[in-house]
Symmetry: C2
């Protein structure tokens, strides 16, 4: 069934960024490594027209399957309808550079590993498409691999959630959104759903109690109805289900009590997107442009996928340029300031950095992130460096380390959706780079 295959792809876009830190697993021998699955090398979509066996067409081709996804993550707009996130019309805010090639040789022990790996090796291990490291506001490392180049945009996947959460925090700080308000007082259409009785904060922190399953093995799982509703393609004949993100949200029922357990469910972010749009009177894309892309001097427009009613996919639809997500990370590191001017109040970042309910996350079984929390759609590590991150499946991350004054942005197309398989060669690598940067003479290169 064509729709099923298409919606499976959408599911992949919607899928959650799992955060369990598993021991280092040997990559399946049947899965080609980063070099062998490079989309240029495989010849995907090259030629006018590409050869039949090198086409990645929608929706028949299951374009989010590996290794096709190594091409697809840079080309979402060529497969789906999208809305622009305008950077505005002026000159971009320049990024300063202080490149340091020694970073490639920094060594670290992967979690559960037996031998050291260096930074450069970790890029290939993680099927990295783009890597940017900022230290004290300057770019110290930048690489484009796989499908990505500096003119390109890459799927941010669930990092989109963190930007939706950031917008919500900004509206709270500005006084136009009350985090303690019940959702049905803002979006009356959600009154009959589980969201209606939740507070905005519970939605932001994903502690809502939802009857909602993302079990892909179950053909009756809610994720399938969600995906069918979200598809911008014409509904199949006789389709009677909800149409669009908002319509679907109205059907989500309550299971249990809000505010007790963390449950990573993408529909929370789409509900938050509705809240943010209703309060601001603006599409999420326009709000991203107004609050972030334009004032921060983004270098390129970003874009978001939309459903058949033009609603942007708040839970996972953003594609953006590497450096522009670097600008977002730097803004977070600098508590909302750019060149000493506040783009948004420092309380926004304070709220996120403080973290959410550790107990709620622990109860959800995220043992390996013990002590961590989820706040306003950001992952808060509560580690010694006070790090926090935006994360998306297949290896997307914005990792902010306030102690090391470091921001790392990674785009990737790891074969498996689970970040738990990438964390062992990522999190200790980030820590090693942070320690290296902190150890450098603080005046060097400036």
């Amino acid at each position: 069934m064509k729709l099923a295959r298409f919606t499976h792809s959408l599911c992949c876009v919607a899928i959650c960024s799992l955060t369990m830190i598993a021991p280092l697993q040997a990559q399946n021998k049947n899965v080609p490594n980063a070099a062998d699955s490079d989309p240029q090398r495989l010849g995907w979509m090259i030629g006018t027209p590409p050869p039949a066996d090198k086409l990645i067409m929608q929706p028949q081709s299951n374009y989010f399957s590996f290794p096709k996804l190594r091409w697809t993550v840079c080309h979402i707009r060529e497969l789906l309808p999208t809305q622009q996130v305008s950077r505005g019309l002026g000159a971009p805010a320049p990024l300063e550079y202080a490149l340091d090639d020694n970073i490639d040789q920094i060594r670290f022990m992967p979690l559960g590993g037996k031998s050291l790996m260096n930074w450069e090796q970790s890029l290939a291990a993680n099927y990295t498409d783009g890597m940017l490291i900022l230290h004290k506001g300057k770019v110290v490392y930048e690489r484009y691999l796989g499908c990505l180049n500096e003119y390109g945009k890459h799927a941010a996947m669930s990092m989109t959630k963190s930007l939706t959460g950031l917008l919500a925090e900004i509206l709270i700080a500005e006084g136009s959104l009350d985090e303690n308000a019940r959702v049905n007082t803002i979006v009356p259409e959600l009154t009959g759903s589980a969201f209606g009785s939740a507070t905005v904060r519970q939605v932001m922190d994903m502690t809502t109690a939802l009857y909602y399953s993302e079990d892909y093995a179950d053909p009756h799982a809610d994720i399938w109805q969600y995906s069918a509703a979200a598809s911008p393609l014409p509904k199949p004949p006789g389709y009677q289900g909800p149409d669009g993100y908002f319509d679907y949200l109205k059907t989500v029922k309550k299971a249990g009590q809000h505010g007790r357990v963390f449950g990573y469910k993408t529909v929370n972010t789409d509900a938050l997107g509705w809240i943010v749009s209703r309060v601001s009177g603006k599409e999420l894309t326009d709000l991203l442009a107004e609050k972030l892309w334009q004032p921060m001097g983004a270098e390129q427009d970003a874009y978001m996928t939309v459903d058949g009613k033009g609603t942007p996919f708040a839970g996972g639809g953003l594609s953006a340029a590497l450096r522009d997500l670097g600008r977002i990370g730097q803004l977070m590191l600098d508590n909302g300031q750019l060149n000493g001017q506040p783009l948004f109040p420092a309380s926004v970042v304070d709220s996120i950095k403080a973290g959410g309910d550790k107990q709620a996350l622990a109860q959800a079984g995220y043992k390996a992130l013990a002590g961590g929390s989820y706040r306003s759609m950001w992952w808060v590590m509560h580690n010694e460096h006070g790090a926090f991150a935006a994360r998306g499946v297949h290896g997307q991350t914005i990792y902010v380390d306030p102690t090391a004054e470091m921001v790392i942005v990674r785009f990737a197309s790891f074969p498996d959706a689970k970040n738990s398989k990438i964390d062992p060669t990522s999190l200790p690598a980030y820590q090693a780079v942070a320690e290296y940067l902190m150890s450098k003479n603080s005046g060097a290169g400036e």
Copy 2:
């Protein structure tokens, strides 16, 4: 049938820009005027979500029907897959301004009209969405109406053809494309089609002899198969026809002798797009970026719709910002130079301005454009001012008047696809503005 309705919309994108200059016709009383059909006023797609009766969804809604098209022309990417035309990463090349509000009061006699109209009135008469006038390289007039604002992009419709033709002329001037070569020596896949035996020049000037009908009243007309092939949506079950622009072009048969009669058929431009891509080894979008958008310092990315194989729609798929098409027009006026530096050889514009075969155009029945011609996908007026133009249905134009040193760019969403209904209140208006600008003290405002 859903596909039929969707493809009808695509047809509207593909439709030709007729150039018959008909006498001024009273607008149908049942068609709302520009103010009454303003998409903001009608509330199309406003709200989160928009009310059911204000939705413009694809493909069920026939989104290119009037008055919906007044919203759609600014939102093509929200309905269809697209490829970016990158402006690059630097600062845009600034446009100088010397605004002159007196232009609004310039009066002219519409063709076939009985009373004078002023410029400002002509904007509403033509359902104008964007208007830019450059004189001696400076912006003297700029308006955003309807769905358009300065951050927006508008469908260029068949002006896309002129940009494809411009790229072909650039490749000829650079020596990588031979206008006298037979098409099958460049694109062997077209050997069995009508295009195979034509020369590149015949394709560029649309003097190929094609068995191809764009008669929308005929359900068996070729345009329907073309549209079905071009649709990026999944093909219906059992579909056996061609898939994509290139596949379709291979099926076009010859009817008569090439080089004799002008026939405005969009498939010529798609064939030229294939030729240009094959010769350059680049997608049309990348070539537009490399040859025009980046070197000319465009302010915004543009984009093109694609078929299900990722092939950009060379015959009509471009959407762009108003000022950026102003930059294109100014480049044409300045023979390819920007700030005294050549972006492409002057021979490119010389070739276009010289015009094509007037006899071929006259034989096709374009009596009202007697003395005019079509050259490299540009309309050449052969009037006293040596004007030439890119034109697209529903009122799109880039009008270059070398004598008056004037460029006019208009985006519009006129209810009828035929430019012949807009020309009576456009062409004499352009001439009046040209004469006004020429009459101004040449040193004024500088």
